[in-house]
Amino acid sequence: MNETVIRAEALRKVYGKGDTELVALSDVSIAAERGEVAALLGPSGSGKSTLLTALGFLNLPERGKIWIDGKMVVAEGRALTDLSAVRRTSVGFVFQKANLIPFLTARENVLLALQLNDKVGPGADARARELLGYLGLADRVDHYPEQLSGGQQQRVAIARALANRPPLLLADEPTAALDSHRGRDVMELFRRIAHEQRSAVIVVTHDHRTLDVFDTIHEMEDGVLTRRPPDPSSLLEASA
């Protein structure tokens, strides 16, 4: 773990004004490297999602700077480049719900991400099949979302997020809609992805039972980010 994929410094985001002012991010700095799996914990309203959307270039902070792959793309509330293009090529998103396009098959949902990035043809199709196979869905490639279980849908969503080999994968409570067994499967999958695909993975989660999977754990409260080491007891529990 030595190449920094995403780095944010002194991010500040405030919602509302005057009496209703709410500081969602207060001088937040965070970084993640290739192969790293980081967890983002915190109660509801602590600013986790705001941070995730800022790191995904969906919601710009008022202050602070963000670099991706060493290139500064956000500075003091301003985009320095086309953020859509950055999202298309460098960021993969996974959400609580799979958010698959209902009128596309599993393969087509993955192909869509490639097509948006101008990757079409047999090569793109092979990539989609390869990813779905990697995630254990080789026999489900031509199924529509409604024909897949919740866990399978979530794996298609992960395949879609990985399609363009983004250096950064952001996941917002990806296991919330799954049972504990499938939830752990997904978290372990993120770890595998981070190590095998050399991506940085940042996961917002409430599931403390899977913390042993993460290399880094960040906690947020009232817009302030702190970092804590992995819980040794969880690691022991997991290995047992």
Binding site: T53, L58, S84, A85, L104, E108, L111
Partner: protein, 374 residues
């Protein structure tokens, strides 16, 4: 992978029904154009069939199709000796109405200059030309008479010996062709009591015009200029007669149909816009997802525009099918040719593009973070 087509394929039934509704609307737009073309064709069919180079009519009138015109019988002979004239024939035309109040039958009676004109130049779909000078008639099939049918008109009963197709007046009334003498009898008929009161005098029915054909190489304008010096007649070339008919008789109908067509086009555009707007709203989540994944604006705009055009294409196809089945049952002729079909295709494309604007504007306002809201 075409997102617009994939989405349509998922909701086939919805699209088919939407397309059917639009198809009906577009079919009415198509019918409006076809009805106008039909009116033009109906109005000019007789002029074209007569094939005259000049129409010589009563002084200062616009001819038998525009207003009442009578010319002396001897005019025919006077015209025959004019330099450049190949033939001159009397032409009698008037509309009569028979039947009762509930089922009126309107007939455009055309008197042919017997025996030089027996109607053999008319394109008959059944039967033969007039074989006798009296009590025979050629009728258009819109009058609903069969070959051999008998029809009492005036003091006589006429036998249908030939059937034409598409020969109607500018008002859409079927034409009946009889000899000029029979036309006189039909148009000048009076009830016996009226005849008695008129002391047996029957009003003379004069020809409406004399139609002139010129020798090859003779310019119609030159002869018309010469005949224009005659104090009792006015001369119109075939083109002028045609223009007079179209501009005078059916121009208001053209304007009315044009306005109605414009209104229908606007209504169609509004309906397509509403459909697309609702479809876009229903797809807000998917559009937000596309944006979140970094889709370029043209991808989102293209999807909505393509759906709009596909919807328009489905509606257009339905309109063509509906038209081909239904128009022949309309009471008046509906002429739909490549011009009408091409015009509708362009109109549908314009409507689809304009109507997609509402959906596109809506889609552009959808934030990618909508996905995170669940």
């Amino acid at each position: 992978m075409n997102l617009a087509w994939k989405d349509i394929r998922r909701q086939k039934l919805r699209f088919v029904f939407t397309g059917l509704g639009l198809g009906l609307l577009f079919a009415v737009v198509l019918a409006m154009g076809g009805i106008y073309r039909g009116m033009v064709a109906d109005a000019t069919v007789l002029i074209d069939a007569v094939g005259a180079d000049l129409w010589v009519v009563q002084r200062d009138t616009r001819g038998p199709f525009a207003e009442r015109s009578t010319v002396p019988r001897a005019l025919e002979d006077r015209l025959r000796v004019v330099d450049g004239v190949a033939s001159a024939e009397r032409f009698t035309y008037a509309t009569i109405q028979r039947g009762d109040v509930a089922n009126p039958v309107r007939i455009g009676v055309v008197g042919l200059s017997w025996p030089s004109n027996r109607g053999e130049r008319l394109p008959l779909v059944a039967g033969r030309a007039l074989g006798g000078a009296h009590r025979e008639m050629l009728v258009d099939r819109t009058l609903g008479l069969d070959l051999g049918a008998h029809m009492p008109l005036g003091d006589d009963v006429y036998e249908v010996v030939g059937i034409t197709r598409g020969f109607v007046s500018s008002g859409g009334d079927g034409l009946a062709f009889v000899t000029e003498r029979d036309a006189d009898a039909i148009l000048g008929w009076m009830a016996p009591e009226s005849r008695r009161l008129a002391a047996g005098l029957r009003p003379e029915v004069l020809p409406s015009a004399v139609v002139v054909k010129l020798l090859p190489g003779v310019r119609a304008e030159d002869v018309a200029r010469r005949l224009g010096a005659w104090s009792d007649v006015t001369v119109w070339t075939a083109g002028e007669q045609r223009d007079l008919l179209l501009r005078g008789v059916i121009d208001k109908a053209r304007q009315q149909i044009g306005l109605f067509r414009t209104l229908l086009s606007i209504v169609s555009a509004i309906i397509v816009a509403l459909i697309l707007y609702n479809m876009t709203v229903a797809k807000s989540h998917e559009i937000a997802l596309l944006k979140l994944m970094g889709a370029r604006t043209r991808v989102v705009v293209g999807m909505i525009l393509q759906q709009s055009l596909l919807l328009g294409a489905i509606g257009y196809g339905m309109a063509v099918v509906i038209g081909s089945v239904a128009f022949e049952h309309f009471p008046r002729r509906v002429v739909v040719g490549p011009v009408e079909l091409g015009g509708l295709a362009v109109l549908v494309a314009v409507i689809s593009i304009l109507a997609s604007a509402a959906g596109i504007l809506r889609a552009l306002r959808i934030p990618p973070t909508l996905v995170l809201a669940g």
